[in-house]
Structures are given as C-alpha cells and as structure tokens.
Amino acid sequence: MMRLDVDPALLLETEEQRQLRAVLRDVLTAACGPERVREQAASPRGFDRVLWDRLGGEIGVHGLAVPEEYGGAGYTFAELAVALEETGRVLCPAPLLPTVVLAGEALLASGDRRACERWLPGIASGARTATVAGVLHPARVAAERGPGGWLLRGEADFVPDGAGAELLLVAARAPDGTRLFACVPDAATCRRTARRVLDPTRRQAHLRFTGAAAEPVGEPGQVPATAAAVLDAGRAALAAEHVGGSAHALDATLDHVSHRTQFGRAIGSFQAIKHRLADLLVAIEGARSAASYASACLALRRSELPVAASAAAVACTHAYRLATTEYVQLHGGIGFTWEHPAHLYVRRARGDEALFGTGDDQALRLAGLLGLAGRGG
C-alpha cells in the first residue's frame, strides 16, 4: 500500500516550470507586494484587474490547465500549481482558485462539451471570473423549469468570491435529481451579500436566488462525482498555495531572526529559535513533497488522486498552520502589529481551512479512503 508507483521525475520541477516560477516571482514581487495586497483587497472588486489581465493574458496563467480545444494552453495542473504556489506566496487576492480551479474543474469534470465550449475560453483568457456554489458547503438551491428555461431559487452561503464572480456554477436540486447549473447572475434575481471575512484577500458571499436564469451543465446524477473532482482539485490547489505561503513565512522569519539582536546576539543563533525553524523546514519540505505528488496525480488524472489530495491537505494545512504561527511568534511584538503582514498569512491559513475542511477533517476523510477504520464497525 505504501509502495509508491510514481516516477520520481514527476516530483521534480521541469525547466519550463522553473522559468514560469521565475517570471511570476518577478511580476508578483513588483505588482503584489504587502502594501499592494492590502490596497487590492480593500478595493471595490477586491483584486487588481490589471494584474489579473496580465496574469491571464501576457503570462497565460489562467489557461495553463485548460485543454487547447477550450482556449487553454493545454499544459497540466502541475504548471498551474507552480503559479498557485507563487500567488499563494504573496497572498495575491485575485480569484484564481474559484475561477480557474473550482469553476474550471467543475466544467471539465461535467464532461459537457457544449458548456465547456461556452464558458472555458473566457476562464482561460481571464476575461471572466467564476466560482462554484453549493459544492463546497451544503446549500438549499432548487431549479425549476420555467417557460423561458431553468430558474434557480434558494440560498447558498460561503461562496468564494461569490459577490463578484461573473459566472456561477451552482449545484441545485432539479425535479430529475441534483444538477449543476451555469448562471450569470444579475442583481434582480440573485442577491449577493458579501460576508465580513477573516481573510480579506479571499472574499466570500451569501447568495439568494429568486428565479435566476440558468443553464444545466452535464447530466442529472452527476453532481456527486463532479463535486468530488472539484474538491480534489481544490485540495491540490490549496496545497500548492500553502507551500508558497509557508515558504514566505519561513523566509521572512529567517531574515528577521538573522538581524534582530537581543542579549548581544542575533536571536537566530539561539537554539530555541533554530530548532523551531528546523522543524518548520522539515514540515515545509514534507508539504512540498505531498503537494507535488497531488499535483502530479491530478495532472495525470491518476486514480490515487483522492488519497494524494487528502494527504496533501493534511500535510500542507499542518505546515501552513505551523509556519504562520511561528511567523507571528518569532517576530515578537512587531509580528503582532496590524502593519506587519504576518497576520494576513494567519488569516489566509485559518480561513482556507474552512474551505475544504480542517486538517482533522481531511485526516478523517483520508482514513476512510484507506480503510483505516478497524473492523466490526
């Protein structure tokens, strides 16, 4: 069971991925530094559309994992994961996760060619933001066939980027079973209320549908499989982001403890500090291994994906928690100030655990997948 049938080369960064990382690191350092992140998150739409267009157009991040037939670049999730690691590193508030990963995967997993042709090119180019509703958290949305087509009624909460997304993929109860629907929301039939959020760089909203027009995506009865695919893609994506965020926390903390002097020495020369950072490095390298494996499994559409994605979620959630905790603590008082970016990372780490489940939730799911449950239950 623990024998891994994986080509070690898949865990290694390719030259192309290395170049993509370098380009993104430069662009994001310039356009998405700590001050800019705050400005962007506080802006009306919550992110910088110019940067978004640049990522989607010039660099082509959005289309990386989208097949060419739907306007994408036809690379794999492994390349997208590199981009997510970099955006996660700076807490870029752009809604890549809901648009490209959640909505993108929902469309691909639905197998509905017409819907993919209709919506994926806009996602791949960056022309359209999108998200999913009723997939990550239970929702009460019903779909009924009206004279002019399908209409959605009901509520969905905790929808990532729900107030701003230009396309919603909604799991709704229809007379013939739960189905996925594509809905371009308008204010008259979809009331969208932004929630106050722990993590300002990742918005959430409550949605109330009052007869919103929608088109079915895929067939009835498909939703559980589609939702499972969306969640696994989300876990793998978040794992990559968490590796990036954790690596930033480690780098920033290393820089601080190397320069901060107390008792006449750099505090980084004290073993009490060193050993904690060594432990953090171990956790981050483990998270990196688990995230790469999950990305490789998703890129190759391997059957191990559910296990790999859950394991990555456990490892990366743990690492990010530890990294952000140490980020604040080892910075001392300055790390507890509003002005210091450390709390933004704490907010991201903890806010993300509410998206697809806490580390403990993921571990329980993993135990189920692996049959680690004893007998006679």
């Binding site: 080369a9 980084g268 432990d279 490095l281 680690l372 449950a373």
Partner: protein
C-alpha cells in the same frame, strides 16, 4: 554513454535477475500469521548475529559476483559505474523478493566506509580494501563515539601514538554496532593532544582481531544487545592502515557522518506500514480520533517516501538536491514515534501485558527501540542544528571556551 540502461530497462533487468536467484515475496503478508517482530534493533546472541551475517554476506556476494552489487562503482572495484540512484532503483525491485535483511554493519561498510575510502584512501588502500568491502568479505564498523564524546565527537580521547612504522592505540569506544562480526574498525583517534581539538585527529582502520581489541556487548533499554563497547588496549596499527593524512581525521570523519545522515530516509517505514495494517485489522471500529491518528501516520510515511524520491529525482537529473536531502532522519524518527503512539492507542492493555496474541506485545520492541534512533547517527538535536546552520544559514551558537 554506452552501457547505461534506461531506468525502466534497468529495473526490468533487475527483476529478471532477481527472479532467477531469489524467491518472490508472497503477494501480501498474511495478517495474523508469520513473524510478528517489529524490533527496531535486533536482539541477537553472538552466534545468531554471526549466522545472520553469514547469510546476508552470501547474498551480497551473489549480487557482487553477478554484477548487481557495487552498481555505482568503477569496474576496477567490481562495479558498473551506473549513476548513484540506480542503487535505489535496484533496491525498489529487490524489496519484492525474499532476501536477507541487511543489518547495520552492511550499509556502514558499503555506503559509509567504502565511499570514505574512495575519497581519502591511497591507491594501494583502495585496491586492498574496496573490492572486499563492497563484496562484504570484509565488514567495517565505526569506532567513533566515546563516553565523553557523543554529539561533540571532536572530544574523542582515544590516543594513537606513533611507534615505528605504525601507531599504538589506546582508548574506549562505545555504541558500535556490528563490532562482533566486523573485520575492520574505523577509529577516530587523537594524535596531537596539544593541537586545537579538530586539528589533532587522525582516522585509523583497526583490525578487529588485533591483539588488544576487546568487544563487549552493551545491553540497551529493549533488554537485548545490539551495540558494543570496544576496548583498545595498546593495539598496534600499521601506518599503511591510516585513512587520510595525519591530523586531517576530522574531515575524514565528517565524510562518513554526512553519508550516514543521507542514508536514513527509509527508516521506520516498514513498521509504520505494519501499524496501519493493525489499524485496518483491529477487531473493533476505530474512533474518529484514532482514524485521524492513523491517517496522520500514513501521511508521515507517504511524505517521508516522497521526500526520498525527490532526492532520487534530483540526483537522476544531475542536480544537487536541496533541503529535501537533509530532512530525512528527522522525518524518520518522527514517523517512528508516531508509530509507537498509534499502536499504544490501538492495543491498549495488550501492549502493556503479553496475552500471547500475535502482533500485540511484539510492539514493545518498537516502543523501546525507537528512542535509540533519535540518539544514534546524529541526535535529533544535532540534526536540527545542521538544518538550521547549514541549510537555513542561521548563525552558529557561540561555542564553549574550549574550542
């Protein structure tokens, strides 16, 4: 280059060869039958240790003689000059066959001592030592630690004094595994007592059957004896058995220690897997907390394995591995501890009192053995210092006044 098969081709060849010389492991261990030992350190009597060593040596000789040992070594030492990770590819295949489990003296000889000889030895020494060590005709143990020189190994007090065409060695070494079966002991000796600590050290290879060498087993906390103390009472060592220059022994020692640190990535995985089997087969449903704990152990094992693969991948691609190469031992000791914690939780009273049931009280061997690995081969604390100072680049701790 000619003669370097593609990895897939190499693995297939290895499989073919193994099929001819060894028995394939039965598809899956049968739960509840067979050997339920999960000992971290063997608890052998001397005859048992000798018998098992002979068996393993036989297998290593078969490998070597048929071109499947010494894979990464030049042909003059009986090797095939394959890239270093081919050894790992080979081992992945070998794991599916019933072959004797290599006790520590084998990797110490082949993976730690032989490479150090290759770097530091004279041509004559390489010719004399490398083929028999790679073929395991000769086995080498480490005469490193002393009672006053553990983590601070440069504090060794064993003296080597120049006499004629050799050295007279006097001292006391501890925690040597394989000392009863080894033919050579790699001894870290002080040759210049007045020189700064790291400068006065020289490495000598001591014949373990030389007059004045006495080996006594150390009984460890498991109740058995897997290590030894070695008394060196005026042992004569010819100067031709000195490894590396006089006074440069600290660098020679570091070569061996670095190899040791990188060689520990697979530790603890077998027992972790067994503990997960226990979680599957326990005759009651696991609580949610127990399931989470078991999944946590699975993730540790997976991550440890994947991190090892990343090192392999980097080497295979001709790149220098990064931090991933240095975290293996800390991952391994944490996996071992998590294994203990899980079986403690799952077995309850059957871990504390022997009911005679298969696969229950046997776990006490793991519980009592695992702490040893957090101390041996560079303690967890030393590993953290190494990560902090060499990988993360943090400033060194100010040393004590003696330096």
């Amino acid at each position: 280059m000619s003669g370097i098969p593609e990895p897939a081709e190499f693995r297939a060849e290895a499989r073919d060869w193994l099929t001819g010389v060894a028995k394939e492991r039965t598809a899956h261990r049968h739960w509840g039958r067979g050997d339920d030992s999960v000992a971290v350190f063997e608890n052998w009597t001397e005859p048992e240790e000798r018998a098992h060593t002979d068996l393993t040596r036989q297998w290593e000789r078969t490998r070597y003689d048929q071109g499947w040992g010494a894979l990464g070594w030049p042909s003059e030492y009986g090797g095939r000059e394959l890239p270093s990770y081919y050894e790992q590819l080979y081992r992945a295949e070998e794991a599916a066959f019933e072959v004797p489990r290599r006790t520590e003296v084998f990797p110490v000889t082949q993976q730690l001592v032989a490479p150090a000889i290759r770097i530091w030895g004279t041509d004559e020494q390489k010719r004399r030592w490398l083929p028999p060590m790679l073929r395991t005709d000769e086995l080498a143990c480490q005469l490193f630690s002393e009672t006053e020189a553990g983590s601070d190994l440069a504090g060794v007090r064993t003296r080597a004094v120049r006499e004629g065409d050799g050295w007279v060695v006097r001292g006391h070494k501890v925690w040597t595994s394989g000392a009863r079966v080894a033919t050579w002991g790699v001894a870290v000796c002080r040759t210049a007592p007045d020189a700064p600590r790291h400068a006065g050290i020289t490495v000598l290879l001591v014949r373990m059957d030389a007059p004045g060498v006495t080996v006594r087993p150390i009984r460890q906390m498991t109740g058995g004896a897997s290590f030894n103390e070695v008394y060196l009472d005026d042992v004569f060592v010819p100067d031709t058995d000195r490894l590396g220059p006089v006074g440069e022994g600290w660098r020679v020692t570091l070569t061996v220690l670095a190899a040791e640190r990188l060689d520990s990535g697979g530790l603890g995985l077998d027992n972790a897997e067994r503990a997960l089997d226990l979680a599957r087969h326990l005759p009651r449903p696991l609580t949610d907390g127990e399931q989470q704990q078991a999944a946590g152990l699975y993730v540790r094992g997976l991550v440890q394995r994947l991190t090892g693969l990343r090192v392999t991948a980097a080497l295979a691609a001709g790149r220098e591995p990064g931090a991933e190469a240095s975290v293996g031992k800390l991952c391994a000791t944490a996996t071992m501890r998590a294994t203990t914690d899980l079986v403690q939780q799952l077995l309850g009273p059957r871990l504390a009192a022997d009911t005679g049931e298969w696969g229950t009280f046997a776990w006490t061997e793991h519980l009592l053995g695992a702490p040893g690995y957090r101390i041996a081969g560079g303690s967890d604390e030393i590993q953290r210092n190494i990560l902090a100072e060499r990988v993360l680049g943090l400033p060194k701790e100010p040393k004590g006044e003696r330096s």
